[in-house]
């Protein structure tokens, strides 16, 4: 139980997926101009991340390992993720149209989001079991949500700030992300791995 808690806190705050592990920075900069869209993107990432990590974990354990096809990991995983996102999109449209309206436009963006593939591969590298896999992917997704939601809040305020000409746009955004990363660095040492 303690180990699960440690995994959760570690992947949510200490090794935050965006600010400490540098995964998923393109959408982090791209879809963070408004808090609403940031929240939508965050939820979509949590949703897809848990499903994709779970499925790729099962594939690795029950298909790739017994057949000794580990070297196909990259190709198989990226395909599974791309297919999964498509399936999720279609089912969501049928079953939960309200949810689809909220998250739909973010789903295709997620296929090329390196967080999903990155977490699927990291999960295999860390040798987690089934429950740990679920906790790890869920809390990493929540970490992404926290990072992008807070960042969008700061960026909304930045709109009104007087920024030197060359730094307008993405440059100041990235520097802001750097300061946020500095703040998240304060979590280091919260728990000992």
């Amino acid at each position: 139980m303690l180990k699960l808690l440690i995994i959760a806190i570690d992947s949510m705050l200490i090794s935050n997926i965006v600010l400490m592990r540098f995964l998923g920075i393109c959408p982090y900069i791209g879809v963070s101009k408004k808090q609403e869209t940031a929240a939508g993107m965050g939820f979509a990432v949590i949703f897809v991340m848990v499903m994709a990590t779970l499925i790729s974990y099962l594939l690795q354990i029950y298909v790739l390992n017994p057949l000794k096809l580990e070297y196909l990991q990259t190709i198989v995983f990226i395909f599974v993720i791309a297919a999964l996102v498509q399936i999720v999109e279609i089912t969501m449209k049928k079953i939960a149209p309200a949810l689809f309206e909220a998250l739909g436009i973010y789903l295709p963006l997620i296929t090329t989001n390196c967080t999903i593939l990155g977490v699927a591969i990291l999960n295999i590298q860390k040798n987690y079991n089934l429950i740990e896999t679920i906790v790890f992917s869920l809390s990493t997704g929540i970490g992404y949500f926290i990072a992008i939601y807070l960042f969008a809040g700061i960026r909304e305020k930045l709109e009104w700030a007087d920024i030197p000409e060359p730094f307008k746009g993405p440059a100041i955004g990235i520097i802001t992300a750097g300061l946020m990363s500095l703040a998240f660095f304060g979590f280091t040492g919260l728990v000992k791995m």
Binding site: L23, I78, P170, A171, G178, L182
Partner: protein, 218 residues
């Protein structure tokens, strides 16, 4: 001349990282030392060039609707090749690059060039485009890594630059330093571009005035 222009396009005008803002993740993550950065850049450039060549040579047989899965397979194949080669010949580098080698698959630079350029142009142009983008990526990531390594660790390619009394500002090689450094680099690049534009405007103005004066004199 034209081919030189295409390569330069990737280095400055359309620099994949600093202008198009693609491929940030590997750029920030592996730029803690120059050594890692150059390794990553070569791996990515190899994938870029070879996937560009293959995709542009099969572009006429691939139906439009099927193109994205086909591109992904081509790219993933080359990434797997790179992954295994680096694992076999440079195990140390493989360890420090970690998850970021397989992640070249979803690197937006590679996919973006395949979609935007290689699927519409001939093989030679696509090769040049891949080369230019690769060099642009290499230069950006090396400059970033050099700044971070020198400030944060006091070394360059593992060689100590300063005496014993130098105490490095570790923050530069920690994650926040990556964001701050690339943010400042972006700002610097914008600054140069803005100054260039102003200078050109001034030149045009001067020429117009010159013409006016010449007319008046006549």
């Amino acid at each position: 001349m034209n081919s030189l222009k295409k390569i330069f396009n990737g280095i400055w005008t359309n620099n994949p990282v600093l202008v198009v803002l693609l491929g940030f993740c590997p750029t920030l993550a592996v730029s803690t030392t120059v050594n890692n950065a150059v390794g990553m850049a070569f791996a990515a450039t190899f994938v870029l060039i070879s996937s560009n060549i293959v995709i542009s040579s099969i572009r006429k047989f691939v139906p439009n609707k099927m193109r994205i899965p086909v591109f992904i397979i081509v790219i993933a194949t080359f990434v797997t090749i790179v992954d295994l080669v680096v694992y076999g010949y440079f195990p140390k580098l493989h360890k420090s690059l970690g998850v970021f080698i397989p992640l070249i698959v979803v690197n937006c630079i590679v996919f973006g060039r395949a979609e935007a350029f290689a699927s519409k142009n001939n093989v030679f142009d696509s090769f040049l485009d891949g080369l230019g983008m690769g060099i642009g990526f290499l230069l950006t990531i090396s400059v970033l890594a050099a700044i971070r390594e020198v400030i944060g660790n006091g070394t360059f390619w593992g060689v100590k630059l300063f005496g014993e009394s130098y105490s490095p500002a570790i923050v530069a090689i920690l994650p926040p330093g990556a964001f701050l450094t690339i943010g400042l680099m972006l700002g610097g690049m914008n600054f140069v571009n803005i100054k260039n534009k102003e200078r050109e405007k001034m030149k045009q103005k001067l020429e117009k005035e010159k013409l006016k004066i010449q007319k008046e004199v006549k």
